[in-house]
Symmetry: C2
Subunit: 209 residues, 2 copies
Amino acid sequence: MNPALPLRILVADDHFIVRSGLVALIDSEPGMKVVAQGADGAQAVTLYAEHQPDVAILDIRMPGKSGTEAAEAIRQVFPNARILMLTAYNGDEDIHRALRAGAAGYILKTSTGDDLIPAIRAVAGGLRWIPYDVAGRLAARRQYETLTAREIDVLRLIAKGRANKEIAAALAISENTVKDHLKSILGKLHASARTEAVTAAVQRGIIEL
Amino acid sequence: MNPALPLRILVADDHFIVRSGLVALIDSEPGMKVVAQGADGAQAVTLYAEHQPDVAILDIRMPGKSGTEAAEAIRQVFPNARILMLTAYNGDEDIHRALRAGAAGYILKTSTGDDLIPAIRAVAGGLRWIPYDVAGRLAARRQYETLTAREIDVLRLIAKGRANKEIAAALAISENTVKDHLKSILGKLHASARTEAVTAAVQRGIIEL
DNA sequence: GAACGCATCCCCCTTTCGGGTGGTGCCGTC
DNA sequence: GACGGCACCACCCGAAAGGGGGATGCGTTC
């Protein structure tokens, strides 16, 4: 990477105002500039392939394809993609998801330019950027298994308040099978009741409300 | 208000990046400029009194004193304060709280400059500014009664997946009473099961996950 | 003081849920 | 071909949920 050339950056966030803030902060910094902007994960993937920037800054929560999904999609095609995940929340789940999806670092939306710019440079240089206060929490984080497509189908209907019998009718399967999927969901999410499963899944970004 | 003088604007948002975006968008617009920035509701109140801007743009959700609380505090001292509420979410509950707190307008963080600038001018001119889709929802909005404080206590524990018996123990009341509150919650939110009540309440901004 | 909302408690009942055990067929991996 | 994961189905059973009913006390509002 030639230090004489400015860092080329892609930003993706569903909030136009946030994108404007990022652009303002980045473009006013010598040696880096925003070359593309997207409003959701799907756009981020397309724009990444088109511009192949040095760093992609993705909001972790976006409508449609989320930042994590976009990161996974990008890194399937460009395994060396350097991704900096942006989030409004400081929850462990978001952070872990970001890193698992292949992000090299993450920053909070509360970050000032004094934090954002070094983070971008670090990620561009192939380093990781993880805020100190949560680096330790990550290791002790509780693991959970991934849900299958069918389990997520069931979970979405559970979130709508549907009873097992109604879910069975909607998916054209037996109520026993719905219960089977539910058992599996409860086990994987370490939940003891359907309501807890739904809130846990929402917090982890598995489903949306 | 003299049209020759630029509109003086206060922005308050806990996300530095969002503040930067607002400043960039506003200051690049002729006839308006940001005169003060705050990171929470308390700062917004102090800065408002200090600068007495033409328009205050407040994030509805901030740590400590929220945007709605700040708006109420400001309008107690300055009843003619023109407040534009900013939010990432468009839950009905947020919108109602904002308008009830005395906000003249309401914009989403997804808004572009083409939406933000007219909103500021409208509010500065003493008009209301409600996004079209929000206005429609407000009119056609499914009416639901407000929950009591105790019902929200119960609902929060339900959202955590607690059983009625556990909730009774946590709140030091009888399980029958918990069931009574739940019955009331289900009726008020037009839900048929506790899980649906939780998702409906989250979507309306009554509780958070 | 009557009416009302709120919080509290109690009973009843039926349905649903959650957890256990068992099985089949399919598909991909080792 | 054996193994594991997945989707599917079945049965049992105790616990939990939810939908009725009625009741008390305590404030506030009319």
